[in-house]
Symmetry: C2
Subunit: 315 residues, 2 copies
């Protein structure tokens, strides 16, 4: 399928979906309060906290929010209180009535979705759900981006923690605590650590460290299990290679474990070739290397971006 055709499909879908389903927000209408007010109520019900927090999440103007909250308070849907920790701040919470309304919004939204499914036969319903789940994963993945972060930041720690936990379930693997020394290797200028985050949750990560002689090593590459099959690992690998090339490296190495079959397949698809053991890592059984495009002694294999399902590199 050509890119033009794909674009046309996305546009056609956009049109039928937004036109026919109407804005999702429509479910907020007809509840006696304007859309904006209900949207805020929904947001508060989703997670209550300070007004500042609420504003940050919604990106709305302070004055606007203040007035909406006033209205909601008058309607008895929320209560405002002073934050004891910082008495400038105010805390927002739903009242029992507010929670009731919130549930009503939830119900409406669910009914809306059911009304869409209802006319279809069982089989078509299943097909639609599968197609939307697939589209959802891919759309989310498409809009994700990799950010270079500090390897000891909360997000990085959380991602690496998950990575380690997952590896430990696949083969005997007992890493030490993440040390400052380990982390320093993955920090600029000689190293990198990239992270993709969705909704506050780490989704993928990977690190790069300098082995000297123009060689970079890829470390701690991981993709969240719920996000696999969307090409994230391929993109991540490519991203890391680009970062390595930008830092002046001409080759990338990595080690991995024989249990990580999907990862090995990924490396092979991406043009890595197996090499001899180049370190003492007891967890590693397989070693790979790739010459970066543009590097002298070129002959880098053409990339074949394929689907990948599974955990990635070891250590």
């Amino acid at each position: 399928m050509s890119i033009d055709l794909q674009t046309a499909v996305v546009r056609r879908f956009n049109r039928s979906y937004t036109q026919r389903i109407g804005a999702l927000e429509d479910s907020f209408l007809g509840m006696g309060a304007p859309l904006g007010t209900m949207r805020l109520l929904f947001e508060i019900g989703f997670r209550s906290g300070t007004v500042t927090d609420l504003r940050a999440r919604t990106g709305l103007d302070a004055g606007y929010v203040s007035r909406q909250l006033k209205r909601l308070t008058e309607d008895g849907l929320v209560v405002l209180s002073t934050d004891p920790a910082d008495r400038r701040r105010r805390l927002v919470e739903l009242t029992a009535l507010g929670r009731e309304r919130w549930n009503e919004l939830e119900t409406r939204s669910a009914e809306r979705a059911q009304a869409l499914l209802e006319p279809l036969t069982d089989r078509q319903r299943g097909r639609l759900a599968r197609a939307l789940a697939e589209a959802d994963l891919l759309v989310r993945a498409a809009l994700l981006h990799f950010e270079t972060v500090d390897p000891l930041s909360d997000g990085a720690r959380s991602a690496v923690g998950r990575y380690v936990t997952e590896l430990a379930t696949l083969f005997p693997f007992a890493p030490g605590e993440p040390s400052e020394r380990d982390a320093a290797e993955l920090r600029a200028p000689s190293g990198r650590f990239v992270l993709a985050v969705d909704d506050g949750e780490p989704v993928a990560c990977g690190g790069l460290r300098d082995l000297g002689d123009g060689v970079a090593e890829i470390k701690r590459m991981w993709v969240h299990p719920g996000w696999r099959g969307a090409g994230l690992a391929t993109r991540l690998l490519r991203h890391l290679e680009t970062l390595a090339a930008e830092a002046g490296h001409t080759r990338v190495r990595l080690d991995t474990n024989e249990h990580l079959e999907a990862a090995i397949a990924l490396y092979q698809r991406a043009g890595y070739r197996q090499v001899d053991r180049y370190n003492e890592n007891p967890d590693a059984t397989h070693f790979f290397e790739k010459r970066l495009a543009g590097a002298p002694d070129g002959a880098a294999a053409p990339e074949d971006p394929g689907t990948y399902r599974g955990v990635v590199s070891s250590r």
Copy 2:
């Protein structure tokens, strides 16, 4: 997959898609004119005609449209002229400048869609496009509804015309012109003709006539080729059976041609059993009958709503 799970998938998709893609309409913004004005411009560019027509298509208020058109005229984007056929009416058309702007909107919208695809690998792009195409078909189909119309109305004629044309390509089939006498049989109270329309185009049709003795006959069942595989034929068949039952019939018959294999499979899945020839129709080779649920001498086979691909009944 349970209906609750399916509903959850739809809701999750709704949220990620509308939140992340933003309203499709956003591409109308930042063009120096408010959204509503641009939306109208887009609609005119899509198909120009009378103001009434435009209003009917958009569902907007007469006063509102009038003002928008005034603005667009002042900006030199459209021209208004009196309809020579009815001098109360006015014709709207884009100027060259208006067409230019319209193309700009198209470009923006396409860029938006491409930006979504761009980060994905080739393979994932293909997957997303396929998933969205599938979802598009099913969503459109789900929101379609069958309407009982006069068998000689424009829509019905158009649908039957397509049906006849299509049959003629599949086997020797030379029907006469649609006669008033034929049509009368498909008219209430003794008969029915149902039609599904999307965007002015006929998408599916089917008729019902009275054979006496509590038997109804299904005629001219057809689904638009571009809409096959979305369960429309199954739904249409079910709908016609319901209409027949409501009219007091206890059995439904139909004839078809051996070349229409998909149709025959559909009837069998839907619980029809083959019977002896019951008419002199030279185009028919196969004959089916089904006892309607609730009818005495019951034992109607359980329905298995399966996917259907192909033209439907003969004649």
